[in-house]
Chain length 246, copies 2
């Protein structure tokens, strides 16, 4: 048995997220496991680096699985892609040490949230960007984002109210990229709580619209209560860009 790590892209639009849930076939993980199991000729588990929400996309999700494969990694990738639906693709595949685990070994991740900021609708990005009609104040958003850098208790940005484990996370970078009407916010950190990136984005949008001030962000963090933070930006604007190891 060899252990393979695969980098995946998927359009999350018609899926109930990454994680398989009971009998539902409509998750990325369940689709992958069925196909990998067919190739393996045996029930095979696929481990992802983490869940992505229903409707959220990925251009660099990492996953691994153990399989008795005699061909090259390239042949395995090609076999996989020939069986996957057109909205899921393997981008690369490599053999990794037997103990490698996509989730347990992940050191950091980058998520990208895409905003379409224009009065005119995002015809071609309508399924991949959140449409904000009001002009957003870029400087204020960038200023506000600085408050989230470093290690903090992000309880205010966690949608799971029954979270029993620590809600402390470290954000290494929040970068803003502008391209015409499109704004991308890149969040890199050692881990993200349930809907954390979407709530951070919603809060930053409220700053951009002038409904909150950059200097209020520290108080939002310190409140440690979901009610203190902004709205949850919709899942279709979010994309898991990259997972970092070792």
């Amino acid at each position: 048995m060899k252990n393979y790590k695969v980098i995946l892209a998927y359009d999350g639009g018609r899926y109930n997220g990454w994680q398989k849930q009971g009998n539902t076939e409509n998750t990325i993980q369940a689709r992958l496991e069925r196909i990998v199991s067919e190739i393996a000729g045996a029930e095979t588990e696929v481990f992802g680096s983490g869940r992505t929400d229903a409707g959220t996309h990925a251009t660099g999700q990492a996953a691994n699985f153990h399989i008795d494969w005699q061909g090259t990694p390239e042949e395995l990738l090609s076999t996989l892609n020939s069986r996957l639906p057109e909205d899921i693709a393997g981008l690369s595949i490599a053999e990794v040490p037997p103990r490698f685990h996509s989730r347990l070994n992940a050191k950091a991740k980058t998520y990208v949230y895409t905003i379409w900021n224009s009065e005119q609708p995002p015809v071609f990005l309508r399924k991949y960007a959140f449409w904000c009609k009001k002009p957003l104040d870029r400087e204020k958003m960038e200023e506000a984002a600085k408050a989230f850098l470093g290690e903090h208790d992000f309880k205010a940005f966690c949608a799971n109210k029954r979270m029993k484990k620590t809600t402390v996370r470290r954000i290494d970078a929040i970068r803003f990229l502008y391209d015409g009407e499109k704004t991308e916010i890149h969040f890199t950190g050692n881990g993200f709580l349930y809907q954390m990136v979407r709530i951070l984005t919603g809060t930053l949008i409220e700053v951009g619209e002038g409904r909150r001030q950059p200097e209020d962000m520290t108080a939002v963090l310190q409140a440690e209560s979901r009610e203190a933070a902004g709205f949850t930006a919709p899942s279709h604007g979010l994309c898991l860009r990259e997972v970092y190891y070792h």
Copy 2:
């Protein structure tokens, strides 16, 4: 009555092209005419700069219509966008002289054909790019494209076999843009025959794959026969980028 020119973006994926045909509602023109007529309170014709094929997209189609409108152009645009489906949008609108006609006054157009050249499938561009698995030879494609510059009889690149009017057209520029796995070919010319851009692209792809040579292009033009040219690249990779006036 004022004459308004509107610049339109649309995802052609679920439409039978621009041009209304008999009773079908499923064309961009028919959708627009119904909405503009509702706003006008009277049957109103919408003139496009030209047809786009079923499945073909636009980021800069131009159209005009005459309407008795008392508000500002911005208000008209906003009213229009509030009624259009999410895969059609007005990008800008301006009042133009009464005699302006989107098709008759058009001087040139730019079409963009997008190719995804990779062994891995184009998850996010699957509806907007033609997937070529084989590596394409960029130099040979660019070399071949030079044969089409200037004024030529493009009969070999016209899908309409009963074309009675002239098939002479002028191509001003063919530019290649590369961005990772994505290749865009920008065709600018004074007019394009039925499926001309798609047949030009198909022929260039055959050059890129090594099935034809750049130096054979002149003979293809001179044959003046559809059979001499390459395959018709699929409509979903094509996008009308811009229409030029005066």
